[in-house]
């Protein structure tokens, strides 16, 4: 069975398979466009509750566990949580900015957590651009050093970048940098609003030219490239657009449970309910499963000439309150995509 077949099955049969834990919103960088709502109040989940949660997730058959933040390593119990996750047999993905991953930390990560992969944020191909976005001088230089240390430890690393008006002129250079490091780079074309609805981050969203350049570059580097949400979206079937509400959950530092990290519609709170109780028979999830089928139908209509639509139900929900509502940026990407396709057929 291929991965796509497995993913499709989890979507169709509503099998919880991926859980993302936002362990903390604390961070050692200060990225201008960070989507976290740092003003969110609540009682943080304690270590004991995380331990219970991980055991519950094993019982529910969850295989993929994503440790995110903020910066997940900033959580005081990160090592205990990571080690238990390893012991319980999760495939662990860590989303980090890489700033704390000094060689000794990288070694400890390999020994104690043994993640399958570490996703690390890259904001530019030079210190001037990267540090402008992170607002921490020296962060680019330190990241380059830390990436070398991670490689020496044999840890699998992928770079993630968000395309912005501040770094779009370095798109080629960022790919070249990733190539030189022997790492895969995934570029997200959309800057999302903050989770509290603040649209300040979008003041640095990429220009039309930047988006078009990204499309052209993706087609040049991978002619089969399609939309991607950590490789878990759209191309794996036509019944549902993605696994939101069907195979994934996200949990914030205060125990609020959401269908997806991008779709901040609370399903319940772990201080009051078990994750199993929240997952089974939840009317919001039932509603979303229907919505994901509707989204798939709409996207199929929009996908003319084989050009993919980069539609995120979470972003749609944040913008309009309706996860199935096509929003301007998705169709803008479609139009740019068609243009890029034409350019690739008729260079010059």
């Amino acid at each position: 069975m291929e991965l796509n077949d497995l993913v499709s099955r989890t979507w169709e049969e509503n099998i919880l398979f991926n859980v993302l834990l936002e362990l903390t919103y604390q961070c050692n960088l200060d990225c201008f466009f960070c989507y976290n709502d740092r003003s969110l109040q609540g009682k943080p989940l304690g270590l004991k509750r995380y331990q219970e949660l991980l055991h519950e997730l094993v019982g529910m058959g969850v295989l993929n566990l994503i440790l995110s933040g903020g910066e997940p390593l900033a959580h005081p119990d990160f090592w205990n949580i990571g080690a238990l996750a390893r012991e319980l047999g999760f495939v662990i993905r860590i989303k980090s900015n890489g700033h704390a991953l000094r060689p000794d930390v990288a070694r400890r990560l390999k020994d104690e957590v043994a993640p399958f992969i570490i996703d690390i944020s890259l904001h530019g191909a030079s210190a001037a651009v990267h540090d402008r976005q992170t607002r921490v001088p020296g962060s680019f230089k330190r990241l380059m050093q830390n990436l070398e240390g991670l490689r020496e430890q044999g840890l699998r690393v992928k770079l993630n970048a968000t395309l912005t008006s501040w770094n779009e002129h370095q798109l080629d250079a960022m790919h070249e940098l990733a190539d030189n490091l022997g790492l895969l780079l995934q570029v997200d074309p959309q800057v999302t609003p903050r989770d509290d609805g603040d649209r300040t981050p979008q003041t640095i969203r990429a220009s039309d030219a930047g988006l078009q350049r990204l499309e052209e570059l993706l087609r040049k580097r991978n002619p089969q490239a399609g939309p991607s949400c950590d490789g878990m979206e759209s191309s794996t079937g036509d019944a549902k657009h993605c696994g939101t509400g069907s195979s994934s959950l996200a949990i914030d530092p205060y125990g609020n449970v959401y269908p997806c990290v991008a779709l901040r519609r609370s399903l319940g709170n772990l201080h009051e309910q078990s994750v199993c109780d929240i997952w089974h028979g939840n009317p919001v999830l039932e509603e979303l499963r229907g919505a994901m089928r509707e989204v798939a139908r709409q996207v199929r209509v929009l996908e003319k000439n084989g050009n993919p639509v980069r539609f995120c139900p979470g972003q749609a929900h944040n913008l309009s309150g309706n996860p199935a509502q096509i929003y301007p940026a998705a169709t803008q990407t479609l139009s740019l995509s068609i243009k890029a396709n034409q350019n690739s057929r008729h260079p010059g």
Binding site: L6, L63, G89, F90, F116, R156
Partner: protein, 91 residues
């Protein structure tokens, strides 16, 4: 000397909808075992011997004991070739 079966540390797995979903973290390979293979996998993950696994299959799937032993051994050879099971010792 009895065979000793073990699952290496870089192997992660879950039972999903009656099938065993196995991830080899060393090479990012995904392996899915059907119902019978999944049962063999579950039992070896519990630390059972080849003979004990075969006995379980004999009872649960109504196959002859000799056939169950042969099936389990064949399954284990395949899993060993895939690098998801370590077999030490001899039967």
């Amino acid at each position: 000397m009895a065979q000793s079966l073990s699952i290496p540390d870089h192997i992660r797995w879950r039972k999903v909808a009656g099938e065993a979903v196995i991830v080899d973290q060393s090479n990012a390979e995904l392996i899915v075992l059907n119902t019978t293979g999944c049962r063999v996998w579950e039992l070896l993950a519990q630390g059972l011997s080849v003979a004990d696994i075969a006995s379980c299959l004999h009872q649960e799937f109504e196959v002859e004991q000799d056939q169950a032993v042969a099936d389990v051994e064949q399954c284990l050879v395949s899993l060993q070739e895939l690098g998801v099971v370590t077999i030490t010792g001899q039967t």
